[in-house]
Symmetry: C2
Subunit: 195 residues, 2 copies
DNA sequence: CAACAACTGGATAAAGCATATCCGCTTCGT
DNA sequence: ACGAAGCGGATATGCTTTATCCAGTTGTTG
């Protein structure tokens, strides 16, 4: 491969990172090419389709987050570990619409990215279940509560307008607080995952 | 207007109600026509475009919800009134994707529906502000917290898969609980609407 | 039961959008 | 300076939604 071609490849990945972060996964490869200052053909020469570029763009970042999740499994207090992990991971997600879309079920279902995503979710559910075993959870809360929590915080982040960028912390705090065991709390409605 | 034409009009509105409820506002008038057992032309003869049909479909329902919000303003305990109202309104929303999309900022911006939506939001914010004045709110919570709450519960409702249909109650409970004043609670991060 | 206006159906035009390709031209490396 | 590798971006393709049109049907009225 020619040296300039390799350079352009990097340019494209960088452009993809920026464009996907701002406009989400529905941005076109035309968008990315333009943002990289290159032609569409150049992008298609290097990446078969959007999925391939997305994989190149998000592989590292997702793997890093997955590593955090694995590390959290080694912590003593499962609930605190989960809370810290979520805080860190969501901090990344605020500024990255593409990453958020990737974490929502359904996106890039065929790719290796989906596997990493599944691993992260699995770790979170394990942590929550372990927190339950440690008596740190409010009655009735289970690993199945992870997906709704993520969806809710994602919704806050996706809110349009001039809301402060750390608004999501407010609600993450509220929700995690609500899942924690407290003395004399009323039962929680709803069934988690049908059980 | 011929009698059969009026009958078809009603059929179309009914079909629109059902189709929008299930598939959301992005369903096409073709979808609605087919579901009504009529041709597309018939639908376009009676409604200029999707917005016009949506207005006919949702006007009553939205007005009813707005009335609930007005009634809530007359209650003594603002926080409880708000909680009851949200519970009632969201109960309607679960089974109606179109209604949910309508309540999210941005949809049908030009129509009279948008005005009603704004009125409902305004009432909610008033209630929350009043609850604050009554000392029922956790420090720092304001009327601006309404939009994020709605967005979060909406996200839970939009969750794919076989989650139980009253899962949203679980999270509404958690969030409202988190907004309520409790003795000795830590401060809430985030700034609401920047203030 | 005409006879006509109102109404209907749905094929299809029009427009928009994202994806992917192709090939004449440029640039690199030797 | 030559050939291979790479580039650009106009454009073909395919899909989706919106909206129209008019030949044929149906209701209504006298």
């Amino acid at each position: 491969m020619r040296r300039d071609a390799e350079l352009n490849r990097q340019r494209i990945v960088r452009a993809g990172r920026e464009v996907f972060a701002v406009r989400g996964l529905q941005a076109t490869l035309n968008d990315v090419a333009h943002h990289a200052g290159l032609g569409v053909g150049t992008v298609y020469r290097k990446f078969a389709d959007k999925g391939a570029l997305a994989e190149a763009v998000f592989a590292e970042e997702l793997a890093e987050i997955a590593a955090w999740a694995r590390d959290a499994l080694a912590e003593e207090e499962a609930f605190d570990a989960l809370a810290d992990f979520l805080s860190r991971a969501l901090e990344r997600a605020v500024h990255n619409r593409g990453l958020r879309e990737l974490m929502r079920q359904g996106a890039l279902e065929g790719s290796g990215l989906a596997r990493v995503r599944a691993e992260i979710c699995q770790h979170c559910e394990t942590l929550l279940a372990r927190a339950g075993a440690q008596g740190a959870l409010r009655e009735g809360v289970t690993g199945a509560d992870i997906a709704p929590i993520a969806a809710m915080i994602d919704a806050v982040m996706a809110l349009p307008g001039e809301c402060p960028s750390d608004l999501w912390r407010r609600y993450l705090t509220i929700v995690l607080d609500g899942l924690r065991a407290h003395p004399g709390q009323p039962p929680l409605p709803g069934a988690g995952d049908g059980g």
